[in-house]
């Protein structure tokens, strides 16, 4: 789960990491009230997860109440690379003497947290890594030992941090590490980490990704919302406990097991189709889960055909067939369905489907055959049926 900048900064503040004072706002009035409370000049920042939003007009400095009003009005509701701005973060303007970079990544390959530090902040770190790899100091932390002061000193000296900042930076990295582990983060990135004229360190931006599997330990984080990134189908699927990812094409896909569903998307693409979604109905799917899944898939207006690819292990094909029959009774789909059932109770499943003789539902014997068939059928679906 990716946090918005201000959600990341609030998380930082809880762990004692210095951030500029600020307030979130969802309306122009709220933004102006926030700006008055913070004082001028202040900065109005669009809350969307897009790099380079400043260049796209999503960050503006307000020197007065009138400017705060004007900027908030321009930014709220604005479209930044397809993401609508629902919220702004109004924060005190910071004076910048130098821009550093700090991050902690959950490094899967090394199986350890990776801390990176650079005095070349304020730009894309991948670009720095390419052009000037020496400018980035990095090291892995033993997950059982945790962060030690020497880690910070090593990083600071290797990165060439000004002498007076080595000790404060070591302390700041310790707090970042505490936040990384304590909040079950997969990524924490501060870019830029600024040095003020008073020689203080401050996180001017915050990029935080949290582990969705650890939310049971963090009910506050679980409640955080990002309306600009929420897709109606993804939201609907989440409420129903289904794993769904919108992909933008016109062929709805349902399968059981993440690997099989990914494979199904690939096979549909090879057959010339464009998948509308990833939907893993999971192991042991019962009829009601299938009904819920069909509703989510069909609520996407682009969908012109649906492919069911089931290999029954724990999932029983007769349960899937029952769910489909029930779904057809409830929602009367106007688009073609192709169903491939293999594995546990597949014969019974196919028998149930044959008996029910559902309109515009086709049974195929193989995954490849099913993919080809749905691509053909969906291409012929008239737009008013979608």
């Amino acid at each position: 789960m990716d946090l918005l900048e201000y959600q990341g900064k609030q998380l930082f503040a809880r762990h004692g990491i210095p951030v500029p004072a600020g307030r979130p706002a969802t309306s122009v009035d709220e933004a102006v009230t926030a700006a008055d409370a913070i004082g001028y000049p202040c900065v109005v920042k669009a809350q969307v997860q897009i790099g380079g939003r400043g260049k796209l007009g999503g960050i503006k400095v307000a020197a007065s109440r009138a400017e705060a009003h004007e900027h908030a009005g321009a930014i709220l509701g604005m479209d930044i690379r397809g993401l609508r701005v629902h919220e702004v973060w109004v924060e005190e303007a910071s004076e910048i003497e130098a821009e550093y970079y700090a991050s902690i990544v959950f490094d899967r390959s090394a199986r350890a947290p990776l801390i990176m530090l650079s005095t070349k902040g304020g730009m894309d770190i991948e670009q720095v890594a390419e052009e000037d790899p020496e400018a980035i100091a990095s090291l892995h932390v033993d997950p059982l030992l945790g962060y030690q002061q020497f880690h910070g000193r090593r990083l600071a000296f290797e990165a060439g941090v000004d002498g007076d900042l080595v000790r404060p930076l070591t302390g700041l990295l310790e707090k970042l590490y505490e936040a990384f582990v304590g909040e079950d983060a997969m990524l924490i990135e501060v870019n830029p980490l600024i040095v003020t004229p008073e020689r203080e360190l401050r996180a001017l931006d915050a990029k935080v990704t949290l582990d969705g599997d650890a939310m049971f330990r963090h009910p506050d984080n679980a409640a955080l919302r990002n309306p600009s990134a929420e897709d109606p189908q993804e939201q609907m699927a989440k409420e129903r406990g289904l794993t769904y990812v919108k992909l933008g094409g016109d062929i709805g896909i349902l399968g059981n097991g993440a690997g099989l569903v990914m494979s199904t998307l690939d096979v549909v693409a090879q057959a010339g189709g464009r998948p509308a979604n990833f939907l893993d109905a999971g192991g042991g799917s019962k009829a009601d889960a299938i009904v819920a899944a069909v509703e989510v898939i069909l609520s996407d207006e682009k969908v012109g055909g649906v492919l069911f690819n089931i290999f029954g292990g724990i999932t029983r094909c007769d349960e899937v067939a029952k769910g489909l029959i029930e779904a057809f009774g409830q929602v009367q789909p106007q688009v073609p369905f192709v169903v491939r059932l293999d594995g546990t109770n597949d014969e019974e499943g196919r028998r149930l489907l044959a008996e029910a003789a559902l309109p515009n539902l086709h049974v195929e014997g193989t995954m490849l055959g099913a993919a080809r068939r749905i691509v053909e059928l969906a291409a012929a679906t008239p737009s008013e049926a979608r």
Binding site: R111, A214, F216, V245, A258, G259, S263, L265, G313
Partner: protein, 291 residues
Amino acid sequence: MSILVDGDTRLCVSGITGREGTFHALNNKRYGTNVVSGVTPGKGGQSVEGVPVFDTFHEAVADTGANTAMIFVPARFAADSIIEAADAGIPTIVAITEGIPAHDELRVYTQLKRSSGVRLIGPNCPGVLSPGKANVGIIPADFFKEGNVGVVSRSGTLTYQIGNELAQGGFGNSSIVGIGGDPVPGSSFIDVLELFEADPETELVVMSGEIGGSAEEEAAEFIADNVSKPVVGYIAGFTAPPGKTMGHAGAIVSGSKGTAQAKAEALEAVGVRVGRTPTEVSEIVVEILDG
């Protein structure tokens, strides 16, 4: 021969009194796996259809000589249960549980690497099946028969799909190992490839990967230097967009890293043939073993 589980397996199931735990423990027992005990704290002294239940792994090991553990407890208790099994001296641990926090997995992984001789398969995996010998996990054993193709995979149902196509082509399996779809699996492709390489019954290995991380690229390097047997690859997720988790916690393309394309190319660069569909994988296997 086979790898990881066989006729010598003495299985203890953590979470045996739960609905899923009971169902699969008994399923494994019916298949012929020697299920010797179960663990559920507070339910020691009970039994699940003749299988004795203990409060701790230490008691289960002392009383029943368990040498393999299967973890079936909910995600928030699973890391603790894995460490407990290792602490009780169980050398092979198979964790089925899905949804364990990544930081917990990291601590478990690091701890187990330090306690010599403990091997963890999973978590978030379907388990290990050695057809005709033992089944530890949730793999539907009916689709597989004894044979000489080893399978190692990050995905469960995709394994069944590939195994089923192989069976239709007339081939059986030495062992089928699900290493799981999480960011920090206890065993990697490399760990399992090493076992298959040393297993005299295995003639060929099918390796089924997916987007996310770099385990397939690392396996490619290992294969080039250490595997003499033919390996046939499959990678799922060519059409997955970056930044989206595709069902498995570990299946995510991060920026330009972890793409299916890069993984397939890394494998092909060391001479591994990569099927573009599960059907093509089984066709390549048939071609190699019949040819």
